[in-house]
């Protein structure tokens, strides 16, 4: 361990990891309870929450927790996720990334173009989910909205959740595929080699180290 210490770079603080963890846990609970009410063949998942009525009661409250904690992540990271010209080039050549040829792509900063795009997709879907979720929240808010609004909201809610879940599948898979990434969220650190390969511009920024 001691041998590696100077090889490791801090990527996320404890607070950032805690914040992320809260979003992750609430997301899983919401996806399970939401899918349970979305498709009848998954209704059995409500058993994890104490039955259908409890899944229905808990889902929106957990949703508020996710939304608020996501806002925490959003305010922490939005500045790092502004898309640049290089990011657009990166995105247009995303195939090189998928085939493990990152050296052909413009050097990524703290986040690459794909991560940035995903960040904004999450921001948008979270906002839609929260707003449409309030509109269909029984018994507190839904009775105050016109039926046409509620019908639009259920469709938007399902659609935004679908996009978000797809995004998270990608997000989790990328973290599994790119070795060394999970450590950033579990221990807060990454290796220099990891940073040099995946986020060279960021490595230069934090260490002043020249690109190899």
């Amino acid at each position: 361990m001691s041998k590696q210490s100077n090889n490791l770079i801090q990527r996320y603080s404890m607070q950032e990891r805690m914040n992320h963890g809260l979003v992750a846990v609430t997301f899983v609970l919401l996806a399970l309870s939401g899918l349970a009410l979305f498709h009848p063949s998954l209704f059995w998942l409500t058993g994890l929450f104490g039955g259908g009525a409890w899944a229905r009661i808990l889902h929106p409250f957990i949703g508020v927790v996710m939304f608020v904690s996501f806002l925490g992540l959003m305010f922490r990271f939005w500045r790092h996720n502004l898309l640049t010209k290089d990011d657009r080039v990166w995105l247009s050549r995303v195939g090189d990334f998928a085939n493990n040829r990152e050296e052909r792509l413009p050097p990524a900063g703290r986040y690459n173009g794909g991560q940035k795009l995903l960040f904004w997709v999450m921001v948008v879907t979270m906002l839609i989910l929260m707003a449409s979720g309030v509109v269909i929240w029984q018994p507190y808010f839904a009775p105050n909205f016109a039926i046409g609004t509620v019908r639009l909201a259920v469709v938007l809610h399902a659609l935004a959740a679908f996009v978000l879940i797809l995004g998270i599948i990608l997000h989790v898979y990328a973290a599994i595929w790119v070795k060394g990434t999970l450590d950033a969220m579990t221990r807060g650190t990454v290796t220099r080699a990891w940073a040099r390969k995946h986020h060279p511009a960021w490595l230069r920024e934090v260490t002043g180290e020249a690109k190899k």
Partner: protein
């Protein structure tokens, strides 16, 4: 409430079980608005039979009382003062309540297996024991009928007195109606009866008299004889009664296609990993810093 002596044709959130028992023997309630005198005996009979007591409301200047359907009011006389054409004033009185659609929007939207059932005789009934209180039935209903109870958060509506019908009796409202504006029988008989009534109304000058049995929801097991069938909105009825396209999308193709796409995404990730292999920074190879490694 659960009535076991009727055969179930369809259950909510359960595409696997369809049509148990015979398809025949559909029942219907026919409400002839031209015969209704607005006495509200049907409301009272409904309260009596189903043991419902709504709050005593306040008079707001119209005869509607209570002012809306609720978990305690499954049927309600709605009074409309209208001018169907420029030189006529009419007082239309409609007994509002569940239409018992052949293609029920409530049942389509309901996520809880068996919380809404459709019997082979056409009656659509809520099974409160399975209701989770999500209100999707309200979202799905084209006629604005289901109501969530503020007490137990379960949805309630007219049962078409399924418990009486199962015993060969007619619904309490039909039984009590003093002018026989409400009649009950087989759907065929009710349509035939309506034809006679419509012919009579046409003779009396209601050229647009007709039957309200909206085909947009596959027909209904509660039908109306309307003096102005060309203008159902005069009575507070939708002109094009159908399940909202948004609800059809949401509880139709979106369900299987959505899950399929999510499944394919996970599968795609798996295939990608098998094909491309893990993305490891060269210098990290052989060290234990990659995922799942050193946790000292």
């Amino acid at each position: 409430m659960a009535t076991q002596s009727l055969q179930i044709q369809r259950r909510s959130a359960d595409s696997a079980s369809v049509a148990g028992g015979s398809q025949g023997g559909k029942v219907a309630k026919l409400i002839d608005i031209s015969k209704c005198i607005g006495c509200k005996a049907c409301q009272v009979a409904c309260m009596e039979w189903n043991d419902l007591r709504d709050e005593v409301g306040t008079n707001v200047g119209v005869y509607d009382n209570p002012q809306d359907l609720s978990e305690h009011t499954w049927t309600l006389m709605r009074f409309s003062e209208v001018e169907p054409d420029s030189d006529n004033f009419e007082w239309l009185i409609r007994k509002d309540g569940c239409m018992h659609c052949a293609e029920p929007g409530c049942l389509k939207a309901c996520p809880s297996p068996g919380a809404i059932v459709q019997y082979t005789n056409g009656i659509v009934e809520f099974q409160q024991a399975h209701c989770i209180g999500c209100g999707y039935c309200i979202t799905g209903c084209p006629f604005n009928i289901p109501r969530l109870s503020k007490k137990d958060n379960r949805a309630y509506k007219c049962t078409l007195c399924s418990d009486r019908v199962a015993e060969g009796l007619q619904p309490a409202c039909a039984k009590t109606c003093p002018t026989q504006a409400i009649t009950f029988g087989s759907k065929e008989d009710m349509v035939r009866h309506a034809d006679l009534r419509i012919a009579d109304l046409k003779e009396r000058g209601y050229a647009n008299a007709g039957l309200y049995d909206p085909q947009g929801v596959g027909g209904t097991h509660v039908m109306y004889v309307l003096q102005h069938a060309d203008q159902p909105e005069l009575y507070g009825l939708p002109k094009q009664a159908e399940i909202s396209p948004l609800v059809s999308l949401w509880k139709g193709p979106a369900k299987p296609l959505g899950l399929l796409a999510l499944g394919l995404a996970a599968l795609g990730a798996f295939i990608h990993y098998r094909k491309v292999g893990p993305n490891v920074a060269e210098e990290d190879k052989g060290t234990s810093t990659s995922a799942g490694g050193d946790r000292a």
